[in-house]
Structure formats: structure tokens, C-alpha cells
Amino acid sequence: MSATVAVLSRIRLPSAAMTFGVLLTGVVALGAVLAPWLTNADPLGLGTDILSAPSAAHPMGTDDLGRDLFARVLYGGRVSLGVGLFSGLLSVVFGTGIGLIAGFAGGMSDEVLMRVTEMFQVMPKLLAAVVVVSLVGSSLTNEVLVIGLLSWPATARVIRSRVQVLRGQDFIAAARMGGASPLRILWRNLLPNVSAFVLVSTSLQIASAIVSESFLSFLGLGDPGHPSWGLLLQQGQLFLEQAWWLTTLPGVALAMTVLGMNLLGDGLSGGRAR
């Protein structure tokens, strides 16, 4: 296991790829943020113009209830990106905390924490998320909590292995001798030294959280009041043969965002992230 973590893919992408990644995600994110200024259409407003192909009036066409797809993709982006951002951040905060403690404390605490991490890693994450959300109820908050709390092991492992290296170094010993409490060492000495890894993890985790969210809402477990890209793709599935735009266009937005975040994360890590 640790051997695999050590040799995790080291694809070296030029920084042009990173810029491209920022651009991809940036365009979609900007569209989501500026949605009210980009379209007058209501993402939930019904219309008489049903299943019409992209046109000047409806840049991305309309769905079976005459709703404007462009508006739905833009506003759906707010949901997908929002859930992705918060659950990604939650998983990184959680994973970093566990990684810091396990790596720094060592011994029994490390052993126990890593066993728990392993359990979460073996657990089929998406299926577990489906079971939890269908039993507990679907809402944006539940989605964020479930995705965030099931996705932290990768971050925890990376941070832990990094901390294990740092722990033995002189500046930590110096801080100890200076009378710094363990908590202070964690916060002031170790955390800043792993911040680069935290950053990489954040961008990859947000990417993966956006995909997880789309998985849940594709299965109808998102918040029906806040349609995300996954829900749009589920609804488009019914009209695959009549209306190509209903699946293709939201999917392109989703793919652009996730690819962008992955390119960014890969670039930040010099291709050593995974």
C-alpha cells in the first residue's frame, strides 16, 4: 500500500496545462457566478417551447417542460460547484487534521487512525453515500456532509507521510525545546510545511467531489429544488434520442470544470499528486 502511494503517478504536465486548467474551470465558475447577468431566463420557469434545439432565443435549447437549458446549466453550476467546493474543503480539513495528528503522534494513535483510514478507503464510497443520503434524506447540506466525510482518507495519507518526514527534523526538536506545546507545533510548524500538499489535495478533492455530487444527483438523490448538473443529465437521459443537447451540454460544463481542477492540482504538484 505505502509503496503504491510512493510511486503514485508522476505525470509531468507543462505549466501551460495548469493555465489551461484554471481557464477551463474559470470560465464555468464565472458563468455560474454571473448567471443572473448572462441570462434573463428562470432555470425553473416552464415554457411552451418544449424540446427545442439550441437557437438565438435559447442558446442551449429547452427541455421537455420548456425550461431554458442555458439558465439551468448556469444555475446548476452554482449547485455543483458549491457542493463540490464545500465537500472538497470539508474532506481536506478533516483529512489534514487526521494526517497531522497520526503523523505527529505516531505509536498507538497513528496505528488506530490509520486502521480507521484504511476502513474508509476500502468502503465503496459512492455506494455508501447513496445509502446514507437515501436513508437520512436528500438536501444540499447532507450531500456536502456525506461526500466530505467519506472522501478524507487520501488527504490524510498524504499529509501523514509528509509529517512523518518532517517530525524528525531539527526545527521541530528546537520548537519542542523552546517549550512549544504539541498543538502549537502542529499549527505553527507542521501545518505551514505541508500547506503545498494541502493545496494540491484541495483542488483534486474539489474535482472529485463535483463528480461524486453528480453521481448522487444523477441517481435522484440531490436537492430537487436546486437542480445540479447531475440532475440535468438524469433528466436528459429520458430524451437521449430526441434531444442531444440535454445531455451533451451540461456534461461539457461538468467535464470542463473537473478536468480544469484536475489539471490545476496536477500542475501544482508537479504531477506528483496521485
Binding site: M123, P124, K125, A207, G220, E241, T247, A255
Partner: protein, 324 residues
């Protein structure tokens, strides 16, 4: 060799006990976490009072929580995952009925993905830094970025709706009742798109990890020695380097098996494939919670088993791993 395998198997099986325990505990915890009376969750929306009482008694819901947990654990350990509300039959039986279709889909996809992924990864590593390598790297990043259900939808649009090469959905042609070879061919034609969809994610992942492991292996001294001895480049690549990289490949396949199962859920929905994934989806919609939690536990146990298997295969492939 047999003795070795048995010893490894025993060791790994002991290691899986806490994992299995964790999966069952999580399921139990989630059922308790759900708002409302767990009896209603297990008995369905509008049970008769007698059935409700029966469910309560069967699950020991009138007893303390820890007794309930022990009952739940004991039943799960014996393969008793409860009764499906919709089907009215044991969950395990319903799962077994659907298993072959999913096993066929996932099995073929995994075999194809392993072969293609390894070939891509090795050929990228062989010329690390070349245009071909960069192209494979970018493609593999793209493949891991796009959700598989969308890949499936796009494949349907292009190859089924527009080009008409393959059927849109299903496992067999709806009206025709083929037998013998024609039946096999029919299923094969229906499998092309879903298998491709499922394989994309795995191919990209296996290619990435194999590439890294191969680059690592190719930079070792023994490769230099082999080259100096005049060993052919093909032999060096496959016999010397890949034998060292293959452990990584097998580990990745094991670790990602959970993601493959999740992939089968959406792929089966997109392609109307009558397997476990569809069952899972139907369970969500019908709020058939015993079926849902039962399928989850079953899937998690399969994932643990596959992981264990991949660890054993790794130990057989690489003697250095046998000591752990």
C-alpha cells in the same frame, strides 16, 4: 506454492474481519441515523400491524441497542440481509439473481481495461517525455475527470442514435428470442457500449499507475545490467521491468474495484442493463431499504474480497511482499 497461498489467505482473511465488522456497523448506524422508527424503515411505508410486529421481533427492535446490533451482525454474517419489501423475498436471493449480468459486464470491462491500460501505460513509459507519452497522459487525465454516465450517454448518442451501429439499451433484443450462438452474439452486441463506458475510467487509471511504476522500474540498476548483457529491448520491457511494475497495476485494480461497482450502477441505468446496479437504483426509488442496505453490504463485502485477492496475487507475484 499451495501451502504459501493457504497461509497468505488465512492471514488476509483475519485482516478482513475488522473491515467486515466496520461495514456492517456503518450500515446499522445509518439505519439508526435515519429519522423515524427503524421498524418502518425495514418494513416499508405502510405495513400491517402484524408485519410491523414481526419485523420488530425478528430484528429485536424491542431490545436494547447493543442486542439489536449483535442480532444484525449475526444475521449479516450468515448472509441474511433481511427481506426485500418490494420483492417479498430474501435480499440475498434477489441479489444472486441479478449478479450474473453485472459480473459479466464488470468482468469483461475489467479484463479489457487491464490489457489496454497496461499496454498504454507501458508504451507511454517506454518513451517517457515524448509526444505520444504526453498524449496518453492528457487523455488519461480526461478519462478520470469525466463521470462515466456521461461517457455512456455520449456513446449512445454517437454510436447508437446517430450511427446506429449498436443497440441503445438492454442486454438482449427485446422481441427476438435467439438461441445458441445467435444469443451469444446478441448479448455481445449489446455489451459493446456499456463495457466501453465502464472500461474508460479503469483504463485511464491503470495506464497512469502502470506508467509511473514502469518508469521507476526502468530506471533501476538491474535494467542497466540487462541492457549491458545485450538482452533484447522487448525482453527487458516485459520480462524485467513489467514484472516489477505489475504489482502496482494489480493493487490499483483492487483498490478501485469499489469505484467500478459504483460505475456499474450508473452504467446499468444509462444502458438499461438488468444487473445489480439497476436493482440498487430501483431500491432507492421504491424506498426498499432492506434491499438497499443489503446490496450495499453485499457490494462492500465483494470489494473487501477483491482487495484481499489482489493482495494475495501481489504477494505471489513479488516475493518481497510475502514477509509482511
Amino acid at each position: 506454492m499451495t501451502g504459501l497461498i493457504l497461509r497468505l489467505l488465512l492471514k488476509r482473511l483475519v485482516g478482513t474481519v475488522p473491515l467486515v465488522f466496520a461495514v456492517v456497523a456503518l450500515t446499522f448506524f445509518v439505519i439508526r441515523l435515519a429519522p423515524g422508527d427503524p421498524a418502518f424503515i425495514l418494513a416499508g411505508e405502510a405495513p400491517t400491524p402484524e408485519f410491523l410486529a414481526q419485523v420488530r421481533a425478528e430484528n429485536g427492535l424491542d431490545k436494547p441497542v447493543w442486542v439489536q446490533f449483535m442480532t444484525f451482525l449475526g444475521r449479516a454474517a450468515t448472509g441474511d440481509f433481511g427481506k426485500s419489501i418490494f420483492a417479498g423475498r430474501p435480499v440475498f436471493e434477489v441479489i444472486l439473481e441479478r449478479l450474473p449480468a453485472t459480473a459479466l459486464l464488470a468482468g469483461v470491462a475489467m479484463v479489457i481495461a487491464s490489457v489496454v491500460g497496461v499496454l498504454l501505460g507501458v508504451s507511454a513509459a517506454k518513451r517517457a517525455g515524448s509526444t505520444q507519452d504526453a498524449a496518453i497522459s492528457v487523455l488519461s487525465l480526461l478519462g478520470t475527470s469525466v463521470p462515466s454516465f456521461w461517457i455512456g450517454q455520449v456513446l449512445i448518442l454517437v454510436f447508437a442514435v446517430w450511427l446506429g451501429w449498436f443497440p441503445v439499451s438492454g442486454m438482449v433484443a427485446a422481441r427476438a428470442r435467439y438461441t445458441g450462438f445467435n444469443h451469444v452474439w446478441d448479448v455481445a452486441v449489446h455489451m459493446v457500449l456499456p463495457v466501453t463506458t465502464l472500461a474508460v475510467y479503469l483504463v485511464t487509471l491503470i495506464a497512469r499507475f502502470t506508467r509511473t511504476a514502469m518508469i521507476e522500474a526502468l530506471s533501476q540498476d538491474f535494467i542497466l545490467v540487462a541492457r549491458a548483457k545485450g538482452v533484447g529491448s522487448r525482453t527487458i520491457l516485459w520480462h524485467h521491468a513489467f514484472r516489477n511494475a505489475v504489482v502496482t497495476t494489480v493493487t490499483v485494480i483492487g483498490l478501485e474495484f469499489g469505484a467500478v461497482l459504483a460505475g456499474t450502477v450508473v452504467v446499468e441505468i444509462v444502458f438499461g442493463w438488468p444487473g445489480l446496479g439497476r436493482l440498487f437504483y430501483d431500491a432507492i426509488y421504491r424506498r426498499d431499504f432492506p434491499l438497499l442496505t443489503g446490496s450495499f453490504m453485499f457490494s462492500a463485502l465483494v470489494v473487501i474480497a477483491v482487495n484481499t485477492l489482489s493482495e494475495i496475487i501481489c504477494a505471489m507475484l513479488d516475493p518481497r511482499l510475502r514477509r509482511t
